[in-house]
């Protein structure tokens, strides 16, 4: 698949996404459910703002000394008996993995969910190179997408958000399923079907949430158990990791695991958090041959640039779970395997402006993403930075702002975005603080204006603060209507002052 999932213009994709009412309802439901779980779990932990500062510090430290930590990690993997391949490009990564597949004579590969392998289009490339090869995605959602002719994921944590149970049933019927559309029955079928594959698998491919520099172990955070079977059964394991996944120590990984689980799914820890490396003497399962592929694939473009902080990302998906634009257009609307605010910042870096110059405009710049991010990435500021570059250096048509706004219903007389803000309140919920009720005002700076706020009312690229809405949780709409009535309009006297 690669990073880019569609070469249609953004506005066309948005229009297509709008037709998918099930997807829109699912995304809304997911956002609301995740909002409650995420905020509850963070509140229960307490001191969330300080946890964020710590998370940010760990990620910034890893990036600041990235070459040193990668060196330390690779030395330790080698000491533990594994191989490490540094892949500058996706081609380098795929070529190396193909070489291992050939050398080991692997015929049946099991994979656990990994965004970076989707990014380098690993599955399809391996299958194309080797006709006799069987390769199975074993995460339930990824399995559904694979069996649906490699459909695109729509979310980095919930890839099948756009599919309903009837569609899943139809997909499984092609594999021999005869039951009803009950999710439990469907999942049990997948369990049985995939267990057969697991037991005969000779090579496992996993991603890696964090790689521990000072002992060479990798850390995986999952819920289904498929990743652990992928690491237990086959004799060979290939770990594919983006180069920024590194952390200094096991405790740093564990701290981030706690933040990741709460931010992604509202759990204290997911069912399975695992630290692993290649088999040691006396053990009978686990990988005898352990390979780590460390992928750059244009991540280094962000290093030392104004975009470096995007590499702090721990792939929790929280930013898409609060994004009003994601809510409206869903994952496919972005045309990237990395959707939402994360994707709007990261995709142009990895895939270039040529392919993704429209994406930084797929944002209301409301700042909710920045507020919710567990490692304090200033997402909306990075989007503004992209826009600045696109406008200044690429002379892109400035009107895309307004076209996009119109296309998704923002910028009309009664902005859809604000209706959303009323309904959910959480768009601006200040994650930490709020011990009490959810207030729309929580996404407002103490001094009374939207944070760092590019104006919602004006143009996209304008950086203009909004006044403080009234202190209540139910009349954002009224506030907006009233406020708008008092606003100077283009051409009137006040506006020209």
């Amino acid at each position: 698949m690669g990073i880019q999932t569609s070469d249609k213009p953004l506005l066309e994709r948005v229009k297509e996404s709008e037709q998918d009412k099930f997807m829109q309802a699912s995304v809304a439901k997911a956002q609301d459910a995740q909002h409650i779980k995420r905020e509850d779990s963070r509140a229960l932990l307490g001191n969330w703002e300080q946890w964020r500062e710590l998370g940010e510090q760990i990620r910034q430290r890893a990036l600041k000394y990235l070459p040193d930590y990668l060196e330390q990690f690779s030395d330790n993997v080698e000491k533990n008996g594994g191989d490490v391949f540094f892949a500058a490009t996706e081609k380098d990564a795929v070529d190396y993995i193909e070489k291992i597949v050939k050398e080991t004579g692997a015929k049946r590969i099991v994979k656990s969910k990994s965004m970076v392998t989707t990014e380098i289009d690993l599955d399809k490339r391996l299958l194309a190179m080797n006709k006799g090869l069987q390769l199975m995605e074993t995460d339930l959602a990824e399995f559904i997408l694979q069996e649906d002719d490699w459909d695109e994921p729509t979310h980095i944590v919930f890839p099948t958000l756009h599919k309903n149970r009837d569609q899943v049933r139809e997909i499984f019927m092609k594999l021999g399923y005869e039951g009803d559309n009950d999710p439990m029955h469907l999942a049990r079928f997948a369990r049985k079907f995939l267990r057969e594959y697991f037991l005969q698998a000779d090579l496992g491919i996993t991603g890696c949430n964090f790689a521990v520099a000072d002992n060479g172990m990798i850390n995986l955070v999952t819920n289904e158990g498929n990743a652990d079977l992928t690491m237990a059964i086959p004799k060979t394991q290939i770990v594919v990791m983006g180069m920024e996944r590194i952390v200094p120590t096991m405790n740093d990984a564990e701290i981030l695991d706690n933040m990741l689980c709460r931010s992604a799914v509202g759990q204290k820890l997911t069912s399975y958090v695992t630290f692993e490396k290649g088999q040691v003497a006396g053990e009978t399962d686990g990988p005898e041959h352990f390979h780590v592929v460390i992928v750059d694939n244009n991540r280094s473009r962000a290093l030392g640039s104004e975009f470096q902080s995007i590499l702090q990302c721990i792939r929790c998906g929280a930013c898409m779970n609060v994004c009003p634009v994601y809510r409206h257009i869903g994952g496919h609307g972005y045309g990237s395997i990395y959707p939402g605010p994360l994707g709007a910042v990261l995709s142009p870096i990895l895939g270039g402006y040529q392919a993704f110059q429209e994406l930084p405009y797929a944002s209301s710049l409301c700042g909710a993403c920045t507020e919710v991010c567990p490692v304090k990435i200033p997402l909306h500021k990075l989007l503004i930075e992209h826009r600045r570059i696109i406008t200044d250096q690429r002379h892109m048509q400035h009107g895309l702002n307004n076209l996009m706004m119109e296309a998704i219903g923002i910028g009309t007389g009664f902005p859809w975005l604000f209706r959303t803000a009323v309904r959910f309140g959480h768009l601006g919920l200040k994650p930490l603080a709020s011990k009490g009720e959810v207030h729309a005002e929580n996404f407002i700076k103490p001094e009374g204006s939207v944070k760092g706020g590019p104006g919602l009312v004006g143009g996209w690229a304008d950086v203009r603060d909004l006044p403080l809405p009234p202190k209540n949780k139910d009349s954002f709409r009224q506030w907006f209507a009233k406020h708008k009535a008092n606003q100077p309009q283009p051409g009137d006297q006040k506006a020209n002052q």
Binding site: S26, G46, W51, E53, L54, Q57, I58, R61, Y65, P67, L70, E71, S74, V77, E78, G82, D83, V84, F86, A88, T138, L140, I144, F158, R165, P183, A187, R195, L199, N215, N223, E224, G225, D228, L229, A232, I233, K235, T249, M250, N251, E254, I255, N258, K268, L269, T270, S271, Y272, V273, T274, F275, K277, E283, T284, D285, G286, S300, L303, G304
Partner: protein
Amino acid sequence: MTIYNREAFLDRLSERLGTPRHQMDKEPFIHRNQLPEETLADLSSDELLDLAKNTSEALHVTFQVTDQTGLPAILDEYLKRIGAGQLILPTEPDQVADYQLQDWIDTVAKERTVKYWDPKADRATNLATSQDSMVAIGFGDYLLAESGTITVPTTPGQGRAFNFLPTHYLSIVKRSHILPRSTQVTKIYDDKIKSGELVTSNINYISGPSNSGDIEMVLIVGVHGPLDMTYVVVNDR
């Protein structure tokens, strides 16, 4: 055991960052706060047990506490609930002795097939035994109160797949091994790995049964790993 393409790759990153390599040790890394260590650190033993029970049960775990003498009866009752089927046990003689389980195992073996994860057997045999087992009874190393998590380092006698292939899973853990959070246990493992006291390729932190919300966000308990989970905490003081 080879590292490919490293120097050019890291030099390029260093150039992008605008800083030379090998500077890390000049700036020791000190966390800006101690929240991971401090959170829940002041709980008493009883409070830890209560919290562990509550969080575990919220994860659909059956949570039981017993004295040493009550353990066989709890395990009997558990197996009765699970029904017929092969039982797999770890080859951990010290733990079996510690929990005084040998007599109980001998009795159970008269009624159902009891197999072991066998350090002398090969991969295929241990995987097949685990796959054919209806139920696994294993030893947890620690129990984390905050998250309802048992931790299990892989050993020659209790392999990785032991924890994942059997349909039902029960973990026995000592009450004195209840810790507040993952921070404490990770520190223990980190220290033991570095000192050479713990030699393992894999450490599992397991919080309840496997689950998924991938189909319409409906929670399904039991996906690829065990369908259900029971923790038995044994008073050991």
